[in-house]
Symmetry: C2
Subunit: 483 residues, 2 copies
Amino acid sequence: MGKPKPDVRKLTPKSQDFSEWYNEVVKRADMADHSEIRGCMVIKPYGFGLWENMRDALDRRIKETGHKNAYFPLFVPESLLKKEAEHVEGFAPEVAWVTHGGEEKLEERLAIRPTSEAVICSIYAKWIQSYRDLPLLINQWANVVRWEKRTRLFLRTSEFLWQEGHTCHRTEDEAQEETLKMLEVYREFLETELAIPAITGLKTDAEKFPGAQQTYTVEALMSNGWALQAGTSHNLGQHFSKGFGIKFLDEDNAEKFVWQTSWGVSTRLVGGVIMTHGDDQGLILPPRIAPHQAVIVPIYRDDTRDKVLEGARSLWKDLSAVARVELDDRDGFKPGWKFNEWEMRGVPLRIELGPRDLDAGTAVLGNRVTGEKEAVQLSALREMLPKKLEAVQADLLARAKAHRDENTRPASSLAELSEIVEKHGGFVSAGWDGDPATEAKVKEETKATIRCIPLKSGEPEAGMTDVVSGKAAKHRVLYARAF
Amino acid sequence: MGKPKPDVRKLTPKSQDFSEWYNEVVKRADMADHSEIRGCMVIKPYGFGLWENMRDALDRRIKETGHKNAYFPLFVPESLLKKEAEHVEGFAPEVAWVTHGGEEKLEERLAIRPTSEAVICSIYAKWIQSYRDLPLLINQWANVVRWEKRTRLFLRTSEFLWQEGHTCHRTEDEAQEETLKMLEVYREFLETELAIPAITGLKTDAEKFPGAQQTYTVEALMSNGWALQAGTSHNLGQHFSKGFGIKFLDEDNAEKFVWQTSWGVSTRLVGGVIMTHGDDQGLILPPRIAPHQAVIVPIYRDDTRDKVLEGARSLWKDLSAVARVELDDRDGFKPGWKFNEWEMRGVPLRIELGPRDLDAGTAVLGNRVTGEKEAVQLSALREMLPKKLEAVQADLLARAKAHRDENTRPASSLAELSEIVEKHGGFVSAGWDGDPATEAKVKEETKATIRCIPLKSGEPEAGMTDVVSGKAAKHRVLYARAF
């Protein structure tokens, strides 16, 4: 439950200053807080409740696809981190180093894991001997640390929570299949649970994970027209298995290196939910992951207090069997104040219950997304509520899809691309000849990067050319500015 | 699924070398592994599956008692750790220190949290202003690091997983009530889910948490006669709120310091389960938390393979609706080998299914605890299985209770106490005059310590005297050697 918040100022409108709007929503919806520790956030109970629901929904999918959870050490000895050259180069600049244990100086520095490939690969090398040990399908939920210079709550913090899958396979094909399977798990999870429609695609070399052979991504478009990399799935090839000596004896009695994948999503997704669905009244949470799917606000004066609260409690008990329902029975706060608070916190449905409603056997049901209110029969609510919640979930997804589709525009030249990025933001669909120089040039001019080569329709259209070089396009790509 | 393990050696018997037995069981039951990183373990999927079930069962109880989960930073700046004098003295010697972020040296060293009182209190000081903000009831699931010199898998590792509750209250009485409430939650959780009967009691000053006013404990007796501190609940009084300035404006308009508690249990409990229930054939897992509650082992030759596997799969589908059932359909392993493996891994019930069973519509049900086998009707299994699992759970608890009661002996002198500790181990019930010198003397002579002053019957019996001083006892206490 929240505490008295005398802060009744309106939020800075999204259209005026998106970044400020975001910070205000995170704070005033009681999702997270800065800490005194550089770049580290505190995830408050309301924000953590949202993350728990997301985590559980994804964990179920990870297990259903045959993976098991495990837990590996927080520390990565410097020598291990260095075993894969690209990997250490990518991560060393943002690593926090432990140099002392108790009173003594360590012989070797320990990195706090920025990601766990190095430590896990060193252990897999001991575990795997034979083709019978494959595939090895393991996931862990953990905290990781990347020493960030500029931080934003949820979106970029020095410590964050995530899951990281680490798998080993017998063949290259199997590893590729796994990489794409988990990418699809992410896409479906984002769409079904978070109501975020995401595009799956391949990252260019400039944006791939240090040490990966290929990085695939799920890219979502936020409501300000910037893209968010919502999750990644890496085909690691044999880069790490060769570096760490993860070998197995195959059925043909030959010793071979395993083929690997890794994939992860993080608490950054909480930021994605906020930026996809929130509006100028605050947060809007998709019902499937909302900590409170509906809130009951009893409306009473002194002489009707007992009666209304009794009715509200009985309704709360009844509805709690079918949904996560909160009863706001705090005295000393006016109903209007409570309405604002729960709007700010993005609860999908509000149920208002006053003395006259109670006499008439009705309540007023308010919808956070549409702003509509309707009178409903109390006796029908229990059956109606799950359907209403599904409808809100569907509305949010449809709205986000429409926003993305309206904000995906073709460009055939750098000038056109530039103008779209400046004027509208969103995804820009354009031809690319495959040369990193084009990508660099576009980034320099527009701050937009290639978000991905989409898995669906990543083939260039007939006659499509690169926006910079004018050469024939090898791919159709999506450019956007990104968080 | 496990991989081929040619290791068919018998375990070292518990009675011969308990410590060696423990290490072998942890390894051969595939629970955990050492890592190259000093004192850190890897929790393997089977061990982690067990921890997940324990965690979920406890998390439910923590939420049902009104607490919410949140997440606080991994790092504790040195200056924060130093704000409570006893606290820093207790923990500084075992802290891992971060001194560098990326390329730069930090201005202030950061401790990896050994426990989170310091970081959380510094944040609570910002959050709490008024009596309306109280009680504040928060829990977090996290990793913590204590730089241990001598480590044992699960029991004592440099990094471990745990939950830590941190609450703030308006009055001293409320804080004491919370402290005891969570102690009881632990006791009931241990008994119901882990089949570990635990004794609740107060720690002496020598054994209390650095910075606490009182520490309460749940103490369990392992099967070798040593005690395990399975969880602790601390009444912190105002020690931290004064150090960190956590003040609130009370209804009477006076500014006051809050009263606090903290409480935690850790992955150490996995070790507790192993040491309470395991036997010379390996692990025995309580059904309520076992990753696999039953395993189906099909018995076939080449000519009956298809038929038996089909029957086994159909049975597996049927039973999976009522329990966590594993089907061991691996080719190339003899049934006897599989029996041994699942015995080692402590699966409570085994269902053997051969071609003749199938024809007769029966199966053989084996009980891991009693070793009994019985023929059962396939058609009755689905209804029978949950009851059988409950019976195993009850048997384990009854066995552990009987073991504890048989191994709790009174002593009226140091010589007697010494003899019991040497000869039998177990709890020794004795009088204590409240003088730390007695406790120190007993520890020196016998390596036994006061595990607790039990909440139930901690009053001295008539005429009871201190085993060392011979003075009148203030309390009846339980002595034991402990992990």
